[in-house]
Symmetry: C2
Subunit: 268 residues, 2 copies
């Protein structure tokens, strides 16, 4: 199974231009699962709910999803990418998976970062896993990395490849995702964006360094800090189904769930 990331520099508000740019960078790619950044079609720094309203799309009628689905089917790709979703008058920071067979799945980001809370509603869905080609794909979005619970649940739900569209601004995620891969024995693909986005008095610089990590924490491919890039490697997703750490340790069977009840305690 070929998996990769497309590291991009979206232009705020220019949905069609951003989708066209992504399609152009993908044009010679076939037979692969490729992860794009969070909110890759809209840009990140919304200043008002009106802006979100204007750029958010319903998954079913989404221009972006429609275009990406065509690419996926024509080029035998599975594509994971972030959009601003509109649903029942609410907005979600959503990751979409479109498969080479035309199926569409979505995950609404559960852990919103900073000012996203002003505009988006947190997702409350299960952390679903989708069988695609040889892989079992789970999705999480950007700041979800901060919560080890997310990757853990995806792995417990059977994911062997975690796809992670991101717009990273904190310095820790890339290292932490290596730990997420090790502690769950899964592949992880973090697709980050690059560039500085300035909007009024707001400004954020995204850290690039997208990466593909194997179940033992090795970085199989890495993007630069400032350049767009598409990198794809071949993996065997089944490598992540073996949770053996030593002859006497199975990562999941060794979990002491009877001791973990405090994890569900409500914050005081």
């Amino acid at each position: 199974m070929n998996v990769g990331f497309l590291q991009l520099k979206p232009k705020f508000g220019a949905v069609k231009e951003n989708v066209r740019a992504a399609k152009s960078l993908l044009k010679n790619m076939t037979d692969a699962t490729v992860v794009l950044p969070e909110l890759f079609n809209t840009g990140y720094l919304f200043r008002s709910k009106d802006e979100v309203e204007r750029l958010a799309e319903s998954v079913k009628s989404s221009y972006t999803v429609g275009e990406m689905k065509k690419v996926a089917q024509q080029q035998k790709l599975n594509l994971v990418f972030g959009i601003a979703e509109k649903k029942s008058r609410k907005f979600y920071n959503t990751s979409i998976l479109v498969t080479s067979k035309g199926k569409v799945f979505s995950y609404q980001k559960a852990h919103l970062f900073d000012r996203e809370k002003l505009f988006f509603t947190a997702g409350t869905g299960a952390f679903a896993v989708h069988s695609v080609d040889d892989g079992k794909i789970g999705m999480m979005v950007c700041f979800d990395w901060f919560f080890p619970e997310v990757a853990r649940i995806l792995a417990l739900n059977g994911a062997n490849v975690i796809c992670h569209p991101s717009n990273l601004v904190l310095p820790w995620c890339q290292d932490a995702m290596r730990t997420r891969s090790v502690e769950n024995r899964v592949f992880s693909i973090t697709a980050n964006r690059i560039g500085t986005e300035k909007r009024g008095n707001l400004s954020l610089t995204f850290t690039g360094h997208s990466q593909i990590v194997d179940p033992k924490g090795e970085v199989l491919a890495k993007g630069g800090e400032r350049s767009e890039s598409l990198k794809v490697v071949e993996i065997n997703p089944a490598d992540a189904d073996d949770k053996t750490v030593t002859p006497n340790n199975d990562l999941f069977k060794d979990r002491k769930v009877a001791l973990y009840k405090p994890l569900l305690r409500k914050p005081g």
Copy 2:
């Protein structure tokens, strides 16, 4: 509050010699909380339950605990260290905390590594937190690091300094503990041992690189790969009580416990 690690090379089976060596290295130290390695007094590579039986101690009558308690009281130290514990005909891989005021607390390792399972019983206690000087100390032992649940629960229980006696042989822990500190906003002190232990046809090389990590993942002090060392730094444990990540994010309040139920699912 001064916190540190004492990185050692224990000699298998030589309890009194190992305790003496630790006391000697600590002899000029005062007014600090110092973490020593897992099983620092016995060595690691037990070949039979008889060997464990011979070297394990009841906490109450333990020579090691008694000696360390004297040092702690005389030198105003809090000491965290690993021993083989004997209790009701069972053996535990236990971390002890002795305080400068003569109190003794213990934690029985919950996640046993590899051949430890042949000899030791896994602990089933709560992940308790102990107020010591300005710090709230939680203990975990070596392979517990692999399970993000442990550091998470200690932090949820109020720990701001996680003390982590270890005998590390895998390559990932030091990086992972930086993630543990970041994702929980806690200080962590991993005290590893060094050296190669050969016993019959068994052999293990321990990786050194003990470390003290702050709540933002910075390594405040690090040991070498092959040398014994004692390093102490001054920290403000209260820095770890502030779980603010951004003006809109509080690490613990942001946890979506309603979504985390799969964490308690029994292994299939």
